[in-house]
Subunit: 349 residues, 2 copies
């Protein structure tokens, strides 16, 4: 078989805020779709590893943090300039020299390169997946993947949820937030949820939020003053909303810190209310799914895909097709323009 | 017996920052020593309550928070303008109409009025104390009182201390901080401790701190970069030092929020580093001794006074004599000029 194109999405430059007032990643500049590479699928050397065909890739908010200079420390590894982006994805094994990896197997992990085909050295950092026949692979990078795990494992580990309590969940229309809303409702809580559009408000109500509002047009403090105090706060935004949550937290409140989309592109807004932690005996927990997986992975896969397949847990997706759509999809996520969990279908099986 | 003077310390005005650049409480203005009241100890009506003679009073940092307008919400009850201050103290019962309170008993609580004699309605909020014969009553408002309890119960409940870990303790020469240093050393930790004078640094070393420094002359971040990362942070200051601790916290670090002396008089400095909570899976717990006492009180009194009496736990006191010294003592504490836990001996037994 003749060599075939191996299209890739390269990390081409660090966002610098030259073209826009703030430094959002720019498609075609921060990331570049590249078709210059060829691959011979039958003969490419595997060196003891295995060759995958990439099926789906996940576009996640945290990817912005990897678009940085390597000298800036953070919890995620920075992307390498000139190399493909890497992220969560699912691939199918085409060829293998690894004794534990058979062709036809499906692998999932956070280090799938943004290219059509890739040779992986070994299974470190990857898991084999079995697909529930009622679910597409895209769900396995969303509600049944990292975002779903973040929600499920963070909630399970840190919420200490008790029936009748009140939870406030930010970015409630996102994949993590929408899962948290549903988990909170299943636990018998009153759920207040916020997001940035009327469409998202409708969606949050449709999945069970008791109080859903658009934080761009409604004052968060007014809602919390009326509907609170809040026993659990799920933070995906940080900044002033975190301060508002600290103000309206109940005694013994739990604040689950999952992300800060408000700060990723424009800098983190300072918090003024940390002195409220001791007066109200609050607990704040940072959530990093990587630290929770070992404990909760088996339970997650045994429960969540089945509930999603039965429709007892709802999910939505914004599906883009082809690696050429990655740059725009990333920008949509960073700007909050995406309507749901954003995934790229790179190839059908 | 003829009526006798019942000297008091009245809350006369809310600190306003007119006379000083910042609004520290001013002796003689914020608080006024008053000798105008007389009391007839034999005939003063008890109305079913009991009469105490105040022996010792505690001067604590948190008292600043009570010197506020009643409409400003906080976790502590505001002082009443024109009425005596109230705070932690020990009194001996002189007369009683309460069936559960016998003359000669010693009572301890956080609502002892700053006056020589007081009629208390009942034991709500008070405990009976028995004194270890080797300890003066002053210790029962310090290392064996609320500050000691705050240290012991906060550490016990939230530190998750493991031998070999590193703890960073601020205001390490204060009653709370110095107790935490010693508890951390007893648990086998490496202890980094900071305070604001060379004298305090010496004291912190004398009670076991492995690394002690003066934060006014030494850069906290440099110390933490060299001696960290820190697994446990005991925060009594807040502001930029809390941010430094977040920067140098280890993965799975625990931050115990106990107070923010840096903000009580000049406003709370904002925090810029709350986004580090999720990357490092940090846990932050607010400590309010009031919420921990029920669980830990019995164990505290069975262990700590004995260790203090034997010298296995060290404590220091700055003892002032007479109610007339209260105003100055409060200011010294707020300015960090006190050399040790500050107590007022109102009367000998």
């Amino acid at each position: 078989m003749a060599p075939t194109t191996n299209a890739r999405v390269l990390f081409a430059s660090i966002p610098k805020g030259i073209h826009l007032a703030v430094d959002f990643p720019i498609p075609g500049e921060t990331t570049v779709y590249d078709t210059s590479q060829q691959i011979d699928l039958e003969h490419v050397p595997l060196n003891g590893g295995f060759l995958i065909k990439t099926l789906v890739l996940s576009i996640d908010p945290y990817m912005r943090g990897r678009m940085r200079a390597p000298e800036t420390k953070s919890y995620s590894t920075p992307f390498t300039l000139g190399a493909p982006l890497v992220g969560y994805g699912v691939g199918v094994v085409l060829r293998s020299e690894a004794s534990d990896v058979a062709p036809g197997k499906y692998v999932y992990g956070d280090s799938i390169p943004h290219q059509q085909y890739a040779v992986l050295a070994n299974m470190d950092g990857f898991d084999f997946l079995e697909r529930n026949p009622k679910l597409p692979w895209t769900v396995y990078v969303g509600a049944a993947g990292m975002p779903g795990k973040t929600a499920y494992m963070g909630w399970k580990e840190f919420s200490q949820a008790k029936k009748g309590e009140t939870a406030f969940i930010t970015t409630g229309a996102g994949q993590v937030g929408s899962m948290v809303i549903q988990l909170a409702k299943r636990d018998g809580l009153k759920v207040i949820a916020s997001a940035g559009s009327e469409e998202k408000v409708k969606f949050m109500k449709s999945i069970g939020a008791d109080v859903a509002f658009n934080y761009k047009t409604t004052d968060t403090r007014e809602v919390l003053a009326r509907e609170g105090p809040i026993d659990i706060y799920w933070d995906n935004v940080g900044g002033d909303i975190l301060d508002a949550a600290l103000e309206h937290a109940n005694i013994f409140g739990r604040l689950l810190m999952c992300g800060m989309i408000s700060g990723y592109n424009t800098g983190y807004a300072p918090n003024k209310n940390m002195h409220l932690t001791f007066g109200k005996s609050l607990t704040i927990n940072g959530i990093l799914v990587f630290h929770l997986q070992q404990k909760h992975n088996a339970e997650f896969y045994s429960k969540i895909p089945a509930l999603l397949a039965k429709g007892e847990l709802k999910y939505t997706e914004e599906v883009h097709r082809g690696l050429e759509s990655v740059g725009e999809a990333i920008l949509r996520v960073q700007k909050g323009m995406n309507t749901a969990k954003t995934v790229i279908v790179v190839a059908e099986e």
